[in-house]
């Protein structure tokens, strides 16, 4: 053991509070040495322990008949999709690394989330991402955006899993602290599911994959503090990704799991060897003896804590059945990957780490982990003054623009609305030959599950502006929008994963946002029967310059679609089709892109939203799709009805002739009708000869006839006026990102 024991000041530098330091002494029955203190500091960091969020996360619904693994039990959630198959899916943040080194930060985010999927034995088949940046006109934002997109593309493209969807928002609140959330979904046969556990005294413990280097040390701690100018000094805390190694590791890991020799396996993400050894041991109620000298390292002379905390990418910890060592070695030799036995399983329930022949750390596994001895805090929260102030917004104080076509042109070029083509064409969206949305765009990605008639229907959603204005309603809307996207695509919502991006939890107002958002998520998930399978909490998304980011609880939703014939696309199909709006229309422009960007009015509540109306809308839409009564369905979101019309029209360059229904003219302002973002509405098109069937089928459900799809390369005609030509609309819609990023 090292003689010089660290002080409480050292502990604080590592992010351990004096109270936590005392607790460590109590657990060990003595003062920790530096290596042990480092182990506790990362395992008890916010990132690994969820100490400031777990109380509230536990209130979320977790159960459904399809759930094979509940939230927090394994590296990712696991949902039964029938045919002896399960879907493992999860979303995770890589915000702070991406703020400092956008390319590697985003790339390793993609690598990390995919390892979470294949460590369970599942082959990833689809990726999505959810991104937030500052002002598009700032050079820093452009640098971050270019780097993040290239990082996601280079890693995902080489790894060979398609990026099938995502979302991007720009707002000054993300200027210093961008958000990079990566989602992956994979498929596993239910009899080949691997677990992150460890048991069986004498079973060998292997480290496989890349060699261990000095990158990413204290990355978990770094993720657990505010971002600042000094953060760029933390560059070594950012890891470097190698998608080629990850691809080999994927193939070798799946081959290893299929061999049936694996007891437990866990990828090394945050806190590297420390986290994987302690979590697997705690889960299996065993211990481990690990010899750090046997860990393949990139450089000589690494210290014990560096090997233990390294977050070098593309590594796994594996416990296999004793006697199968040679088989394990052969698989990794085949794929030219490192594979080294570094220890054995013991019955001590403690982790003993040896280095240079000496015992350098002796810690109980259970006390390190979430659900074990890791601290759990109940934080104070308080409603901020802005919340009530925003509620006082009055639409009558907003002047009606004299020319609404000007608003239409303005919105099509807004960074939050304009085409994302510049981004998504840099991602391989087709590898795997399963993405059915390439040639039939839909609100959610529809991805075929090979060998079955089943499809995953996937969407990531969150409007942070809505959540900021009203965290409870805003977060419920995020869940509703994800479900609406899935329903519009023909799918049935099944479960969610969440990535909870918030500011500093020690700030009472931030914590109020967090608590309120969880409440909103809970009620929406209960309504749609979409339990939470897991995810990730990312606090400390704030900077001294910009304050906390908008609370951004990104929802990644999994839906299922049995049979491609029930898939629905978002684009208009032919001239003469009737255009209808499903759902009630409100005189509401709150928190809309129109109000926020055109009028520059930031203080308004979340848009109108009613959970029951939303659920009824989903039911009606599913009935219309199953009945073959509609030809396209597109949900109304940013930019409201006009933008939805334009997006449905522009895919095939159709024009349209639509009017605000007479009966709505008295109660809904024209700007609210065309640009408002009140929730629970879907734009559909109907073949001319199906109109009466369509109307009869809806009975009491509210709907409005708007007009017709007109000829291709024509005009967008609204309330009797040609607002703009389809070619002009297309030019405006497609120009913003390429011009800004050229």
């Amino acid at each position: 053991m090292e003689q010089q024991l660290p002080t409480v000041e050292t502990a604080q530098k590592l992010g351990v509070t004096p109270e936590e330091y005392d607790k460590i002494i109590e657990i060990l029955g003595r003062k920790p040495n530096f290596t042990e203190l480092s182990i506790f500091s990362v395992m008890w960091s916010e990132h690994c322990s969820y100490k400031n969020s777990i109380i509230w996360l536990k209130t979320l619904p977790k159960k459904s008949e399809r759930m094979l693994v509940e939230a927090g039990e394994e590296n990712a959630g696991l949902v039964d999709i029938g045919n002896g198959l399960a879907c493992s899916f999860k979303i995770e943040s890589h915000n702070h690394p991406s703020a400092i080194e956008p390319y590697q930060g985003a790339a390793t985010g993609v690598g990390g989330i995919n390892r979470d999927i294949f460590t369970m034995g599942a082959r990833p088949i689809a990726q999505l991402n959810s991104l937030r940046f500052g002002n598009l006109d700032s050079e820093r934002t452009k640098w971050i955006l270019r780097g993040v997109v290239k990082g996601i593309g280079d890693y995902g493209n080489a790894f060979g899993v398609p990026t099938v969807g995502g979302e991007v928002y720009f707002d000054p609140c993300y200027q210093t602290n961008p958000l990079v959330n990566a989602f992956s979904a994979g498929i596993v046969e239910t009899d080949k599911i691997a677990s992150a556990t460890s048991y069986g005294v004498g079973n060998p413990v292997f480290i496989v994959g890349s060699a261990t280097g000095k990158d990413g040390i204290h990355g978990a701690t770094f993720a657990s503090e505010d971002i600042s100018e000094a953060s760029s000094d933390k560059l070594p805390a950012v890891q470097v990704g190698d998608p080629f190694q990850e691809k080999l590791l994927l193939e070798a890991t799946l081959e290893l799991i299929a061999s049936g020799n694996v007891i437990g396996i866990q990828d090394m993400g945050a806190a590297g060897i420390t986290c994987s050894t302690s979590e697997m041991s705690a889960k299996g109620k065993h211990g481990m003896e690990i010899d750090l000298d046997k860990v393949p390292c990139r450089q000589a002379g690494m210290q014990s804590f560096e090997i233990l905390l390294s977050e070098s990418q593309e590594r796994m910890l594996v416990v296999v059945k004793k006697g199968t060592e040679a088989e394990v070695q052969a698989i990794f030799d085949k794929w030219d990957l490192n594979c080294a036995q570094i220890g054995t399983v013991t019955d001590t329930q403690r982790l003993h780490f040896y280095h240079g022949g000496e015992l350098v750390a002796d810690v109980p596994a259970h006390d390190l982990v979430l659900g074990g001895g890791a601290p759990v805090y109940e934080r104070e929260y308080e409603e901020p003054a802005y919340y009530k102030a925003y509620q006082k917004f009055d639409i009558t104080n907003i002047a009606m623009p004299s020319d609404l076509s000007e608003v239409a042109r303005f919105l099509l070029t807004q960074p939050n609305i304009a085409s994302r083509r510049w981004i998504y064409e840099q991602y391989d969206s087709m590898v795997g030959t399963a993405n059915t949305s390439t040639n039939a765009p839909s609100d959610a990605a529809v991805v075929h599950v090979r060998g079955t008639e089943n499809h995953l229907v996937l969407s990531v959603d969150c409007n942070g502006r809505y959540v900021h204005a009203d965290p409870e309603q805003g977060c419920a809307i995020a869940v509703a929008e994800a479900a609406r996207n899935i329903v519009c695509s023909g799918g049935e919502p099944v479960a969610i994963t969440n990535c909870l991006n918030f500011g500093n939890p020690y700030n009472k107002h931030v914590y109020w946002q967090f608590v309120s958002a969880i409440k909103g998520m809970k009620k929406a998930c209960e309504k749609f029967e979409t339990p939470v399978t897991g995810g990730n909490v990312s606090f400390y998304n704030q900077s001294s310059d910009d304050g906390p980011v908008f609370p951004t609880p990104t929802i990644g939703m999994l839906g299922l679609l049995e049979g491609i014939e029930n898939r629905m696309r978002l684009d208009f199909q032919s001239e003469g089709d009737a255009i209808y709006l499903l759902g009630e229309v409100k005189n509401d422009i709150s928190s809309s892109e129109y109000l926020y960007a055109f009028h520059e009015e930031k203080a308004s509540p979340a848009p109108y939203f009613d959970l029951d109306a939303e659920a009824a809308l989903h039911k009606a839409t599913k009935m219309l799709i199953r009945g073959g009564l509609i030809r396209s369905a597109h949900d109304l979101s940013d930019g409201g009805l006009f933008v939805a019309l334009a997006e449905s029209a522009l895919v095939q360059n159709f024009g349209f002739e639509v009017s605000q229904p007479q009966e709505l003219k008295a109660k809904v302002r024209a700007d609210a009708f065309w640009f408002g973002e009140s929730q629970s509405r879907i734009l559909v098109s109907v073949a001319a000869d199906k109109k009466s069937d369509f109307e009869a089928a809806l009975k009491d459900f509210p709907y409005y006839y708007l007009g017709v799809v007109s000829e291709a390369d024509g005009y967008m005609n609204i309330d009797g006026e040609d607002w703009l030509s389809t070619s002009k609309a297309s030019e405006l819609y497609e120009s913003t990102l390429p011009e800004a990023l050229a």
Binding site: P243, Q426, D428, V431
Partner: protein, 229 residues
């Protein structure tokens, strides 16, 4: 027709082309890059992906794999070899196909549908295709700009070695239709002996009605027809 698909470390379209060829009725096996036995296949397929990570230059390392010795010999004997995307890059690096694939002129990875016109029907791969129509086939690459020095390019054209050219949806050539800056809008070529083919677009990604595009299956089917006819 028996196909053998080479799996390099980093190949990621091997399973896709495997499925597509099986779907159209081909007999298909996978060949491991460390082996040298081609298992008596008629056509070796070098699939897309990022062989060895493509960190040096696309395809630059893969050509030194043990199996590539056997592929060279197979080609010299007149056997068919077909490279798609990274496979095309590997075959040019190996000297089995003329020219080189350089970084796209926009310096970015591009994944999207492109449209192709058949430039010659005097090869197995293109013999029954329709020269009057366009084929919608997606691309996904960062290094797909076909380049050859002036004299070599003239020779490729004079010998009718261009298989496909990029066009727009209406069949017109031009800068807007060329996604990567390839010389003469070239999307695919064959060797002088016309038994080795390479193309950047991915026909296997357009070979399943479920994906809403089967133009690629029509191209792949050419490989079956002549031998079985």
């Amino acid at each position: 027709m028996k196909f053998g698909i080479i799996v390099f470390p980093g190949s990621n379209c091997d399973e896709d082309i495997y499925q597509a060829l099986q779907h159209i009725g081909g007999q298909v096996v996978k060949l491991w890059h460390k082996d040298t036995d081609l298992q008596n296949v008629d056509c070796v397929v070098v699939p897309g992906g990022f062989s060895y990570g493509d960190y040096l230059r696309s395809g630059a390392i893969a050509r030194f794999s043990p199996i590539m010795q056997s592929v060279q010999a197979h080609a010299e004997r007149g056997g068919y070899v077909y490279g798609i995307c990274n496979g095309f890059q590997i075959l040019t690096e190996a000297g089995l196909l003329p020219g080189a694939l350089l970084r796209n002129n926009n310096q970015k990875f591009i994944c999207k549908n492109t449209y192709l016109k058949v430039a010659t029907t005097d090869t197995l791969l293109t013999h029954g295709l329709d020269r009057k129509r366009t084929y919608k086939i997606p691309i996904a690459h960062a290094e797909g700009r076909f380049y050859a020095p002036k004299e070599l390019l003239a020779e490729i054209e004079a010998n009718n070695q261009v298989l496909f050219r990029y066009v727009d949806a209406h069949g017109k050539q031009g800068a807007d239709a060329n996604p990567n800056g390839s010389l003469n809008d070239i999307a695919g070529v064959c060797n002088a002996k016309r038994n080795v083919f390479g193309m950047m677009p991915h026909p296997e990604r357009a070979a399943d009605a479920r994906l809403g595009n089967t133009d690629g299956a029509e191209i792949l089917k050419m490989l079956l027809q002549k031998i079985e006819a």
